[in-house]
Each structure stands twice: as structure tokens, then as C-alpha cells.
Symmetry: C2
């Protein structure tokens, strides 16, 4: 089974230097520039809200089974790929929870990003409910 | 740009009746049956840990721009597709946070699922760090 996806927009940021390794430790600001044709889909998102951004690791090297265990950036030993956040994974899909600072037309200004400038965005979802578990 | 993905496994559940509408209100149990070739990628996942499961909404009807605003199950008015969890979205990709009950070889037994039996799984990620934000 092959599943095809297409970007709904791109991450924009002018952050210089190394990108924080995870959204939970990032204060980097940036913009989710969504395709104008999807602008009405952003209605009802609110300033201050957390959203999950699903994206494509467009700079990731191709995955092979040699990468099924990898040494994460913060460790000195290998771990299974599904227990770490490495961009080199069977499907190079990422997920970050970011906070909305502002919304103007098709632009969503956010904080806590850990994606590179130019990252293709696949989806935006409201992120809620984890505290209810 | 077209991005191609392939399932790493499938959700299995024998839950009968309506599926809970969101993982945060679900106590449904099931199994993530991961392709044997990726079994070593599950190493280091722990019982009790929350994981984010990225999956493909394989039963979703095709999205068109008429669906850019939809009436969610719990409301009687339309909302933008990116502020709701509808499976009918530009890229039919879902994300649920579930809790690991047990792991045996290529099988991950979990609680809190809201996906149908047979749902193709695209990725598993450790879910941590939101409390640090």
C-alpha cells in the first residue's frame, strides 16, 4: 500500500544557529504559511491554543534497516527508532506541538517550533485532552 | 510535491460498537501489529509509556474544498477543518496518544485507542515533554 500526501503549506522561520532538538525545549518563533486555498480551514483556531503540526522531514536521509536502532543526540548508545525522535525513520513524518501567537489570513504565527525553515506541513490539529487521560 | 508513505503495521482491535471519538476519552484496548522487519525499532519502549501513533484514515472519504469547514460530531455548527479532528482532511493523517500495556515481539498492546481495526500505522513516537512547555 502506497499513501500519497501533499503539503498544505510550509514552515517559515528566520532562526539562526542550531534548531532546538524538541518542541518542549524550544522558544523559537516562526510562521506556518498555509496554502491560500485552505485558509478557511484555519477558522476557529485561537491565540494561545496548542496545536499539533504534522510535517515531512524533507532534509532527512533515506531510511534503511541499518537505522532501525540509532544513537540519539542526547545519548551515547543506540535506541529503537520508535522510542526516539530522529528524523531518519521508516516514514519521515514529524509531529510538534506548538503554541499559536497570532493568526492573520493564511499565516499562523507560533512559538516552540523545532522544524527547519521550508519544512512541508501535512496537517494541523487541535491538541487537547491529554490531561483528561 | 508528492510524498509517499507506506504502513509500518496495522491497528488490531476487537472492540464492538461505536469507537470513542477521541483518545482522551477512550479506554478501548487494542494491538499495534508492527511489521516484523521493524521489530527492533520497538526496543526501549516501556510499559506505561505514552506514545503518539501517526496513522492513515483509510476509511475516510476523499477531501474536497467543500469540506474545508465541517460540523464536528459534538457541535451543531461548522468549524475550520484544522480546528477539529474529522478524518476528512486535506491529508488523511491521524494522531492519537495511547498508553503501552505490554510489548511482545512485534506486538504493542495499548489502551485509549480511537482507531478502527485495520487502520494502517505510519509511525510511532515517544510522547513526552508537553509538561515542560
Amino acid at each position: 500500500m502506497t499513501i500519497e500526501m501533499h503539503p498544505i503549506g510550509y514552515v517559515r522561520t528566520d532562526h539562526k544557529g542550531e534548531m532546538p532538538r524538541h518542541f518542549s525545549v524550544s522558544q523559537v518563533k516562526g510562521t506556518l504559511e498555509i496554502d491560500k486555498k485552505y485558509e478557511k480551514g484555519l477558522e476557529d483556531l485561537k491565540v494561545g491554543q496548542d496545536i499539533a503540526v504534522i510535517f515531512y522531514f524533507h532534509k532527512s536521509k533515506e531510511f534503511s534497516l541499518e537505522n532501525i536502532r540509532q544513537v540519539p543526540r542526547t545519548k551515547n548508545y543506540k535506541k529503537g527508532v520508535f522510542s526516539i525522535c530522529s528524523p531518519r525513520r521508516p516514514n519521515p513524518v514529524g509531529m510538534s506541538v506548538v503554541t499559536i501567537l497570532d493568526i492573520k489570513e493564511n499565516l499562523v504565527f507560533v512559538q516552540s517550533i523545532d522544524m527547519f525553515d521550508g519544512t512541508p506541513i501535512l496537517d494541523i490539529k487541535p491538541f487537547w485532552g491529554l490531561n483528561k487521560k
